[in-house]
Subunit: 347 residues, 4 copies
Amino acid sequence: MSEKIKIIILGASGYTGAELLRLLLPHPYVEIVGLSAERNAGHRVAEVFPHLGIYDLPALVHIDELDFSKADLVFCALPHGTTQAVIAGLPKHLRVVDLSADFRLRDPQLYAQWYGHEHQALALQREAVYGLTELHRAEIKSARLVANPGCYPTASSLPLIPLLKQKLIETDGIIIDAKSGVSGAGRAVKQNYLYSEVTGGMSAYGVANHRHTPEIEQILADASGRPLRVTFTPHLIPMARGMMATVYTRLRPGKTVAEARAALRAAYDAEPFVHILPEGHLPATHHVAASNHVHISLVPGAVEGQVILLSVIDNLVKGASGQAIQNMNLMYGFDETLALTQAAVFP
Amino acid sequence: MSEKIKIIILGASGYTGAELLRLLLPHPYVEIVGLSAERNAGHRVAEVFPHLGIYDLPALVHIDELDFSKADLVFCALPHGTTQAVIAGLPKHLRVVDLSADFRLRDPQLYAQWYGHEHQALALQREAVYGLTELHRAEIKSARLVANPGCYPTASSLPLIPLLKQKLIETDGIIIDAKSGVSGAGRAVKQNYLYSEVTGGMSAYGVANHRHTPEIEQILADASGRPLRVTFTPHLIPMARGMMATVYTRLRPGKTVAEARAALRAAYDAEPFVHILPEGHLPATHHVAASNHVHISLVPGAVEGQVILLSVIDNLVKGASGQAIQNMNLMYGFDETLALTQAAVFP
Amino acid sequence: MSEKIKIIILGASGYTGAELLRLLLPHPYVEIVGLSAERNAGHRVAEVFPHLGIYDLPALVHIDELDFSKADLVFCALPHGTTQAVIAGLPKHLRVVDLSADFRLRDPQLYAQWYGHEHQALALQREAVYGLTELHRAEIKSARLVANPGCYPTASSLPLIPLLKQKLIETDGIIIDAKSGVSGAGRAVKQNYLYSEVTGGMSAYGVANHRHTPEIEQILADASGRPLRVTFTPHLIPMARGMMATVYTRLRPGKTVAEARAALRAAYDAEPFVHILPEGHLPATHHVAASNHVHISLVPGAVEGQVILLSVIDNLVKGASGQAIQNMNLMYGFDETLALTQAAVFP
Amino acid sequence: MSEKIKIIILGASGYTGAELLRLLLPHPYVEIVGLSAERNAGHRVAEVFPHLGIYDLPALVHIDELDFSKADLVFCALPHGTTQAVIAGLPKHLRVVDLSADFRLRDPQLYAQWYGHEHQALALQREAVYGLTELHRAEIKSARLVANPGCYPTASSLPLIPLLKQKLIETDGIIIDAKSGVSGAGRAVKQNYLYSEVTGGMSAYGVANHRHTPEIEQILADASGRPLRVTFTPHLIPMARGMMATVYTRLRPGKTVAEARAALRAAYDAEPFVHILPEGHLPATHHVAASNHVHISLVPGAVEGQVILLSVIDNLVKGASGQAIQNMNLMYGFDETLALTQAAVFP
């Protein structure tokens, strides 16, 4: 471990880019050698992120000004759609963790249906390993290209996977009522995300047509061994960070709440970042803020056979940059928790 | 209409008390003649609510210092549990709009089960009219005692009632995922509701055991003509005001989304405060803030037969004090919308 | 008063436009006959402001599609700089309340210095009456063109004017440390005003060079009878509405705190919207939110001879649209408080 | 360094206690051996701070249940007033970093005047070293008892000290207009600090009589070599963390802005946590959130000779627990920045 791996971040002037920097700066085995930002090319990091101004970091440049020859790994934090062409054009010696949605869906038809255009890098898509760390640890270790999961899929599927794998709950009728902080929308400058439009109120959006739906269904289909459909309703909450998924499920005949709880505990007992809360405790996004942790509760519904799962993450950490680093750690044989062990920031 | 009705507010130093005052002050046919506040007795309104300090209002006194003999109507904004004894002790010439939960549940056993003690004023409970204005307009007009609905029951049931009445949706399996601003918890001084504990994060609470559940079930049972159970999950959102109910339902066999939408429109077309949003529009709590309006959307789910209803109110207005005044207007033959026509405050 | 005055709002899709609509809708003597919004022309009000969607309002059109011939008064809520040409081109029978900064500074050189270009409508500028209602009531009544004051100048100068007029405080060394909610920046879509950039933190901006400085100095020079310079430091606070000015002054030799307090009380005792708080009470922006009221406190400093003035307004109401309507009421001989008597919304 | 120092935290269930834990957990040379919390004695840390529930920490106990004999250092995060008796009663082998105000004022008369009672541990007060790290590094290293500075004094005095030491600014007439997030008030359960009372608005408090005033004056008197008085006005801002001091000063005759800027840079150039921002950049509390950093700007005022200093800290880190750990690091000869190098959390 005498030598540090050399990292390039594409799209470093967005929130996931900033979060990668914040988390990677204290990482002992990483050196950041290049940062791209199309609109902010030519600026220093201090100008787009004053909180990072005190660190010695490369200036932001256009992607074609970067010297990839000396880099080992690229974190790609570019917008959906433009990413696939960029990654297809990168030198093949590079390993890549892609935070966009471009390589998450295995089915090209599904991709075309939800994203409105044919996928431009199908070979890469086939090569890509889906980076939900707790589910695909082995494949991630040897992956060249990791498709880092979306925030909603991460929060929603972690509590469901063990129950589906163990065939404890029905595969139909799963309802995911999800709530996200505003940073999930990125740093895009849109009227909807202005402070005065958001503060003091909440709204639903993308009801029944949010693009994270097929990604969630893909994960859950893998876990249950059969295709399934979920109901997924995202809401925008007046907070910068944080995400909660409230998931409504029904036990299969003969299965019990105790079995469901035991399956959850068994699945995550040894996991460093996924925590099943004690009975009677309900999760709050505060308690995972700025951390890579996931808190999950299971509550029996008032209606017979119903099980309610509640799950919280920080959408920028476990929902994006933290999980990306967790995957990088795996890819290079580092301790998986390196640079990710900070406690949540509360209050 | 030459004479104004004389109003007393019990529990005037809480948020629903303040909201009653804010809304009643410009009401042309109302005179506020008494205000009680146990802990704040002896203080002027300006001391507990500086924003009301410029108005000429009675001082806050102990309830037994009030002269009820000259009053016409009492708004009771006291805590649950203590209310029933207080109202039982009031002179019988008074009409009462009670904002607590004490008279909402018709079934005394259900009351005892959820509130942990026998009801202390069963005769009054039988007399009480449930004050969901749009549903019980006729009975409210002649009521002496109105049990003003809870905020969650108001937001949750308004979109469901027409669909249940028309037997368009299944009565089982209804899931209400509700989100509330913090003022719904009142002005109680508890650690959970401190600014630093709430801001920047959200949480679930009362999952599968919130006391508004039987109230919702009672309304919906009335609408559907048969008992039913619902799943009700409240969440605390970092905003002072506002409430959203996201309601998951399934169409009955043979019924269509178009029929459901038509039923909603038909039910509320003539209502001054309930508005069915145009197709494609989703509600936001901002758009009803500080107003008595309700915005409702119906969205077909991605899963066959599913219908998602979204409903927003201001929990302190249509969810409490506004609906109380709407009921008072009915009780005295005033225009139902008097003092309640203000547009929402946005941003 | 049998006939309503006919109103056109230019720039109706911004926050001050929305606030004009919210406040004017219940006004008994006003009819809104035209609304312009350049980028949103062709849309209904419901599309840009869903909270106003239930009202019967004209659609948004380009300014040159408006029929000014039947209008009586124009509220101009356009951006600074573009306003002067627009107003210069309006038919002369129209009365105008301009909410921009274009006609506030009397000195054309000062205008050119602070705004970076020569004023394009000097004749209009000479005609314009500065609309700080409490200071210029008589001139406003007969004005054709009212230059509605900025939010910072309104909040900052109201507590200072009586003390300067009475020569109780020094004219040099006045320091105004001001704090504003984010809606003061309008609905402009800029990265700085994104929710995630603003929430949970605060910042200073425009230190020693904010364009409201010469406007404040002009008001105070009028009050004191001699030119003066002030120190003005604005800060951006994570709240949608509200503005506070904390003003540091020194008593002139021989003058006392009691005299200063008496002067404040005397000046505003009969004013419907300006309230001097009782000794020991400090203002909070909450207590004037969504209202046209101003709360002012005077506190003797710990240092001999120092007097600290604190003043709060809602920047969108008394700081913009509310004062504009107050001026309109004066211009047409209506009760000055018409449509402006609502209590603040708290919490 | 083979052995870790053993730490006890008194008052661990408040916000500064939680922040000590968050920051100390990854510290390589520290072991937490005891935690007290009077009201929460008997509870696990997970119950009062769920975000710390995944760590292996001692349970919360009454202070008299703690075994001090094996501890090396005590962080005392108890309320003002009660602290002095507690510390006086601790075994003398312990080193103490006290986060209360009890040992900050050297002058017992001043203490009695501002705190309303005679000091109960004058010998200890004489022994205490004031823990503004950048100012008293040498004394802190060998101190047994460190009086950790208040948040306001830290934010306010850091920009002033170099200018006063170099006699560049006048000692009279300094005005500090300060703004604090709500966590500065601690976790005390008071109506003023309820979410619904704070969100969406701001207020001033303690104008001309806040207890941090004499502490600031003591620091500045030390720096300038003569007694002085300041004007200090704190404001409560709707954010959980963060503090800004906007400081108004006047240059002494013949002194220049350039000299002032040079003095600031010279004083803090080698400091790991104090950063003078480049000309034209203004500080924002976001950029130091959850970090031990201080950002300072100097801006020439519009008025001749005036210099405006702006300074931001996180009140819970550099304003409390972070500086306490910085002092602990010094006291034990650790690298002063150990466990304190995290970047700010943004957004």
